[in-house]
Symmetry: C2
Subunit: 467 residues, 2 copies
């Protein structure tokens, strides 16, 4: 927890400086050249130190289906996802380990896991993820994914008169589970945080949102949700509320500076103003928005309006990776095609700030994390700049963000505890994890999803697609 990094590159203004960084008891206590050594010495030569990034939206157990879900829009993709979701807490544990490892080895020191709960084993699911993240040592924000309406209710009705099965668990029972989870697992001092996290307006009643707001206020928890990921959800919001989803969420009091909202693809200018006014955070998941054809989120508009934006990988079956550097690259350059004025485009340095400080703002921790500042906690990542994927030498941050860095994370610390060293996660046996993931899976190709079959005709109809 106490160490001195010597002669490391740090980003300053528009350039770099070579400096030492001292960490004592998990906090950054000095940043200057030629410091006296305290604790272990870390050689920073030809390395760049950045604050750890936040993987600000993922669903860890989706890892079990990465690479295999058909090329479909969200609503039908979800049907296939649900039909084959893992129902085994050991698998939840392993995919949380995998998510933590991939996040760490791509520069993340925090992960927001919008965790799919196994029906009837909700607390056990959460416990499995908590165990995994604590073993790895990554800072974990567990946002149990809640809904109280059944999957088919997530589609707009259009001109049909659809009725939906009630969800198997009551709103009250769901909220009781979350309160129990808070009591059992919310341990900020230990780096484990519970968030309230209704999946989104498409599958949640106002009662569920209200219960989550109440828990959030009572226990001082951050709030998370999907928001307007698809055009179908924008249609549904109009059907359900007669106004935009953002207006509705504002009216019921869900927005605020502790609220982060994943996707935010289908917002209009008035919605954007609401996000800015409420100081809500947008979590940009560029790869899943492309994979699912959801659209290009208006990220440049958010930034111009002063909305805080950060990045997420999203679950590994809609991406299908957990590499934060990939999400940051695509999330930065994608928007250049939405505005001819290149002065609005995101620079590599801005992308790094969005991924670090932007991420911790979403989690109400900007005073404690997200920059290399004396007094802040040492969630830090040291990049080895001599890797072939970063050669020849040019601008280190440009290479990291715009290149395709591979095996470049040398070391990572969370609260000053080193959990990656020499490019390897030190807290768990990653090769054993790899072997277990291998053993518990098999090569799979064509799968038939009954729920997809059931929903597809209606989906095509309401989206105006030929049948």
């Amino acid at each position: 927890m106490t160490f001195t990094i010597q002669n490391v590159l740090l980003a300053i203004d528009d350039g770099y400086t070579t400096s030492d960084v001292q960490v004592v008891d998990g906090k950054i206590v000095a940043v200057a050249p030629n410091l006296d050594v305290v604790g272990d010495i870390i050689d920073g030569t030809n390395k760049l130190l950045l604050p750890g990034f936040v993987n600000a939206h993922t669903h860890s157990s989706e890892m079990w289906q990465r690479g295999v879900i058909s090329i479909l829009p969200l609503e039908l993709w979800l049907a296939e996802l649900y039909d084959f979701a893992p129902i085994d807490t050991e698998k939840v544990y392993l995919s949380a380990l995998g998510t933590a490892v991939e996040t760490l080895l791509s520069g993340g020191t925090s992960v927001v896991d919008h965790l799919v709960l196994i029906p009837g084993q909700e607390l056990e699911t959460i416990a499995s993820a908590v165990r995994a993240y604590q073993e790895v040592g990554i800072r974990a924000f567990i946002a149990p994914l809640l809904q109280d309406e059944s999957l088919s209710a997530g589609l707009p009705a259009g001109d049909s008169s659809q009725s939906h099965e009630p969800f198997f668990r009551s709103t009250t029972a769901t909220l009781a589970i979350i309160e129990e989870a808070i009591k059992q697992f919310h341990r900020p001092d230990e780096g484990v945080y519970i968030l309230v996290a209704p999946t989104g307006i498409q599958l949640c009643t106002d009662a569920l949102f209200a219960g989550c707001i109440e828990l959030s206020d009572r226990y001082n928890l951050c709030r998370h949700s999907h928001l307007l990921e698809t055009k179908a959800q924008a249609k549904l919001a109009q059907e359900k509320y007669g106004c935009s989803a953002v207006t509705h969420l504002k009216q019921i009091g869900y927005l605020g500076d502790r609220t982060s909202l994943a996707h935010c693809v289908w917002l209009n200018d008035a919605d954007i103003t609401i996000l800015a006014d409420t100081k809500s955070t947008v979590v940009h998941n560029p790869l899943s928005n492309l994979r699912l054809g959801s659209g290009i989120a208006p990220i440049l508009k958010y930034r111009q309006a002063g909305v805080n934006v950060t990045f997420g990988c999203d679950g590994a079956s809609s991406n299908d990776s957990q590499d934060l550097l990939e999400a940051i690259k695509i999330g930065a350059i994608l928007h250049n095609v939405t505005d001819f004025d290149y002065r609005h485009w995101i620079t590599p340095r801005q992308a790094v700030e969005m991924a670090s400080l932007g991420g911790v703002k979403a989690l109400n921790l900007a005073d404690q994390l997200g920059s290399i500042t004396v007094g802040k906690e040492a969630d830090l990542v040291l990049y080895n700049l001599t890797n072939l994927s970063l050669m020849p030498r040019t601008d280190p941050i440009g290479l990291l963000v715009l290149g395709r860095p591979t095996n470049v994370v040398d070391s990572a610390w969370v609260k000053g505890k080193q959990i990656v060293a020499n490019g390897q996660v030190t807290t768990i046996n990653v090769d054993e994890l790899r072997q277990e993931l291998f053993n518990l899976s098999e090569w799979t190709t064509q799968r038939q999803s009954p729920t997809r079959t059931q929903l597809e005709h209606h989906y095509r109809h309401i989206m105006g697609l030929s049948s």
Copy 2:
């Protein structure tokens, strides 16, 4: 050149089969289970064999500026690129090695290098790239980048009356250099091919195109060019020809089944029909099109019109990597946001075919390469499916295309010669290359590009951007 791969996964129909593959004297001679062993035995267990991909458009020497060029649209980015271009053939040699290595380790066995020529050392530049590619053993298509107009002529004039410096080298002298390059270096039997490759309508006279067509016909060479990468180029074409660039290229006879055209972002439906009718190939460079804000090429429309499409990384300072799997992933999923009907979206298997067979079609070699077919040459890549980045096991091709594979290329062969084994390039010392790239470069940040400064005011004016 003679070996037997045993028990390897091969893609068939919509699934996979486990088979052996026999290669004799560089050609695939048998594909079936339980073949008699000839030559070396390669264990294919838990591995997938695919035809090698084609990195169908790049500029190798841009590697020297990757990560450092400002976030700018093509026309201003080019100004910065030109101001700092390497003028040393040893650097050309090293960046060609680097391009070959990154292409190989991401599944490519062929590279089309639209090679920037050092003024006054044109043949030496080509010789340096040829030497690099022959040492590595990758199949190399060298397309010396030609122009006969000066950089500022590449911008539309708009309402201004611009005059431009003449280009420093005459059209005749340029064509003479290319003819000499053909005589010295075009050796298809040795895996080195010269292409004729005017940079594009924005910097080339019709006389240069005509000369290239003549050389192409006389020496049976493929043709390459940029085409309508930016909106500015579409404007320029109207100014220059009074018609679309595609119509003009058709009229002058540049299009055809040996012609590949990089980018193709700003084409209309009539243009697309011309590409289909002439059997021209589109090389999709999704990452540079995003990085430079050029736009999203209408790839789904090309596919629906029957136009052959393949992928390129583009130069490493507009991407800024040479990872083909990254280009294939983004090039496949990007278009899902351009069409709500997911039945038009590109599947992982289609992406693999575009990258392999689509690539060799562009090079007039579809009868010899691009699939695992008896009688074809053995340009093959063997992927290790047990890497953590491909875990858990699901659909191998889905994982390769949609994931973020890292260190997964186990082996690669070109014409049956193994040039990657156990994940390492065997023909050159990659660590020495890394060290040389390190030694010949330095950390760089802010650079002032005089040519950018000179062009920027006019660029903003003609693009309708506020000054």
